[in-house]
Amino acid sequence: MTLFVGERIVHKTFPPITRHRLALYCGASGDHNPIHVDLDFAKQAGFPDVFSHGMLVMAYLGQALTDVVPPSRIRSFSTRFAAITQLGATLTCEGTVAELLEHNGEKRARIALTTKDQTGEVKLAGEAVVAL
């Protein structure tokens, strides 16, 4: 894989977040926190509605990444959850080569990653280090 700094290698948009998707993710991920699927619980906790699991958004970002980088080449993957992802959000994941480096003789790239909703608000900001 030949990359250059500044190159955008990840770019993928996902379908809008629905209650149904959150219910499926609750079961599929084992994260049964009711705040993501039970409106009564979410309101009690002070939120206007249920909202996405951060890890669902990170899973989408991971998918966008491994569409272009084989999973076996990923050395690390990290994100900060910058804002809550609301129902109806259409998420776009992007990744740009931020740095080329070498670790114990292995050539690597650091990919700066973001996930934004349809208004451009950053939901996730993170990075992956991948072997070239």
């Binding site: 599929a28 991920s29 084992g30 049964h32 926190n33 906790a45 699991h53 899973a59 990290s78």
Partner: protein
């Protein structure tokens, strides 16, 4: 409120098996169509012994097979309704594939107060080993606790 005394606390290790049916449910939920995750031949050609798991799935495996998925919150007396996910990190050392049996060993590595005590950030780091004792990954999560205002 959680304080520095929580640092170093460890929780019950979790053993989880990477089961193909559960993994398929996860892939379907995400609309994941990458053949490396779905087709054993494609995975083998990519150098895996069997189909690998997607990058965030380790987080799920630990929760799915924990007897008490929110044990660390209960143990630290944190209300689930006051918790948000702040950060998440995965460091991968070796492949994880369908059929593997993993052991997760979580422990608290830091507690930080923010915004004058309005929030507490708790970092839980989890080492992951497989059935052969290979250290396959390290997983780190930061949870944000929205503390109640003192009345």
């Amino acid at each position: 409120m959680v304080d520095q005394s929580a640092v170093g606390r460890s929780f019950t290790p979790v053993t989880a098996r990477v089961e193909p049916g559960r993994l398929r449910f996860f892939l379907d939920t995400l609309g994941e169509e990458n053949p490396v995750y779905r087709d054993a031949d494609t995975a083998r050609k990519a150098g895996y012994a069997a189909t690998p798991v997607p990058p965030t799935y380790l987080f799920c495996l630990e929760m799915m097979d924990a007897t008490e998925p929110f044990e660390f919150l209960t143990a630290l007396d944190i209300d689930l309704a006051r918790v948000l996910h702040g950060e998440q990190r995965f460091d991968y050392h070796a492949p994880v594939v369908v059929g593997d049996t993993l052991t997760f060993r979580p422990k608290v590595t830091s507690v930080t107060e923010k915004k004058g005590g309005a929030m507490t950030l708790i970092v839980v780091e989890t080492g992951v080993t497989n059935q052969n004792g290979v250290h396959v990954a390290d997983v780190s999560r930061t949870v944000v606790v929205r503390n109640a205002r003192p009345s």
